[in-house]
């Protein structure tokens, strides 16, 4: 009788907890910026599992993942840092850590979460478990009384974070081996107005895009003593200054084989760069000003979305042919794209049509359409295992 009771109780409990035991490798979140919520999605079932609400102002929100792929850390524009449990589909912890924030990163060992802030300008580092503040790194420059907006924050091996200072024109490498006493190496005069940065998939090179001048700033993190140097002197707005309706994003920058593909600034082109020499080797004409230029995980395709007013379309470049092979119209205001872990499908957010569209990357067939409220960023748990994501 007693054992029957305990069996019944166990059944009842598992029924109440609702969810069958499952992994998170095929899960992800979609930012719904109008409603301050995230949709938890399943990329195998191509379904929305549920929503988590109460994340504040999610314009320009981004997310990183705990190394077990269970928790997403969502960085909101209002300085909110929210740890979302994908399995229980609820907020595990939430803090307001700054007045105006732009994104974040998680350390190689998964213990530290860093947020990059515009106001107050700097980087804050938190315990990934508790979100306790461990280190505050103000981006002071010049006479030390001014603080720069921080952009392009990326994790690199060795409990380090790299980031760029927009007003200061500097790149900093913060070593958080001792989380409460960060050691900061500063590269000064790297160029005018760095607006975003990325680290190559091997964690070796940090590259900052410059808005105030042509070219990009490169730091070889394996040889930091060489300092920062300028590459691609012709990259940028060039002689004919074209208006830029949305800053291109560099994170998620496409490195495919020995080539990198990057958004031209203001021009309707994707630039092709040899990553051994850092010389430009080609330009591919596209429909509009590129915002995200992303490689399918196998590197065979590059997917490109565009700034206002051309943001109803997405183009696909074949990296063998080095040209556009497909143009798709997923919906109005395409803001982001995310590949499934091995890239057989891509999820695309169409903000003004309030939907997510899933495409087969081989046949370009529409596999699914899912409703979402003003969807923007899409982030899958496979990011947990990638340097710089």
């Amino acid at each position: 009788m007693k054992s029957l009771f305990s069996v019944l109780a166990a059944l009842l409990l598992s029924a109440c907890s609702g969810a069958a035991l499952r992994g998170t490798g095929d899960l992800g979140i979609v930012i719904e910026r109008a409603t301050g919520s995230v949709a938890v999605v399943d990329t195998s079932a191509r379904a929305i599992l549920g929503r988590v609400e109460g994340l504040g102002d999610l314009s320009h929100a981004s997310a990183v993942y705990s190394r077990d792929g269970r928790h997403a850390y969502v960085f909101g524009r209002d300085g909110g840092l929210t740890k979302v449990d994908l399995l229980e589909r609820k907020i595990a912890r939430r803090i307001i850590q700054a007045g105006n924030s732009i994104g974040g990163a998680i350390s190689q060992d998964g213990r530290l979460v860093a947020a990059q802030n515009y106001q107050p300008g700097g980087v804050k580092v938190f315990d990934a478990g508790t979100l306790e503040l461990l280190a505050d790194i103000p981006a002071a420059y010049g006479d030390g009384k001014q603080f720069s907006k921080v952009v392009g924050l990326a994790d690199v091996p060795g409990s380090k974070f790299v980031f760029a200072l927009f007003e200061a024109g500097e790149i900093w490498v913060a070593d958080l081996s001792q989380p409460r006493t960060p050691q900061v190496t500063k590269f000064r005069n790297i160029g005018s107005q760095p607006y975003d940065g990325l680290v190559t998939p091997d964690g070796r090179h940090y590259i900052a895009g410059l808005f105030g001048e042509d070219g990009l700033a490169l730091v070889d993190l394996w040889k930091p003593e060489q300092g920062a140097r300028k590459i691609l002197a012709n990259y940028g707005k060039g002689a004919e200054k074209l208006p830029v309706f949305k800053m291109p994003h560099l994170r998620g920058w496409a490195v495919a084989g020995a080539r990198a593909y990057l958004p031209a600034i203001g021009r309707h082109e994707v630039l092709v760069v040899d990553t051994t020499t850092w010389q430009e080797v080609g330009r591919i004409p596209v429909k509009g000003q590129p915002v995200f230029v992303m490689a399918r995980p196998d590197g065979r395709q590059i997917w490109v979305n565009f700034a206002f007013p051309d943001y109803g379309q997405v183009q696909v470049i074949d990296t063998l042919e080095q040209k556009v092979v497909q143009t798709l119209a997923p919906g109005k205001a395409v803001l982001h794209m995310e590949f499934t872990p091995r890239g057989e499908a891509v999820w695309i957010s169409a903000r003004d049509d309030n939907r997510i569209v899933v495409f087969d990357t081989a046949s370009f067939a529409r596999l699914a359409e899912l409703p979402a409220q003003s969807p923007s960023g899409i982030f899958f748990t496979s990011r947990a295992a990638r340097i710089g994501f």
């Binding site: 910026r33 109008a34 102002d57 314009s59 320009h60 524009r77 209002d78 105006n100 732009i102 515009y118 106001q119 907006k149 952009v151 927009f166 107005q193 607006y195 808005f211 200054k241 208006p243 830029v244 309706f245 949305k246 800053m247 206002f308 007013p309 205001a333 903000r351 003004d352």
Partner: protein
């Protein structure tokens, strides 16, 4: 009487009327969405600032409306602010500036 001056005059009157008139409601909705979403990608959806400065009434108070109009239409050289004159006319830019100074409307859904 020659028709030409009348045509000119009515043209002028029409331009003046357009100057003072608010854009029609549908266009207002489009402009609100454009400011919130597209300007918002640099200035923040709540217009509290991002890579671009805040566009709140208290931060704009001391700036002349005319210079704000030309910032919107022609951009600001030396900064990332682009010109938006391909997507709106002067009257629409003026309307946006007025709304920004008053506290910009939310999107109606």
């Amino acid at each position: 009487m020659n028709a030409k001056p009348i045509a000119l005059l009515s043209c002028l009157l029409f331009a003046m009327a357009a100057w003072a008139a608010d854009p029609p409601p549908d266009r207002q909705r489009e402009l609100v969405r454009m400011v919130r979403q597209d300007c918002g990608s640099c200035h923040g959806l709540t217009l509290k600032g991002g890579l671009g400065p805040p566009l709140l009434p208290e931060t704009l108070r001391d700036k002349p409306a005319e210079s704000l109009r030309y910032t919107v239409l022609l951009g600001r050289p030396g900064t990332p602010m682009p010109p938006w004159n391909a997507f709106m006319n002067e009257a629409e830019a003026d309307w946006i500036v007025r709304q920004l100074m008053l506290g910009f409307p939310e999107e109606t859904r």
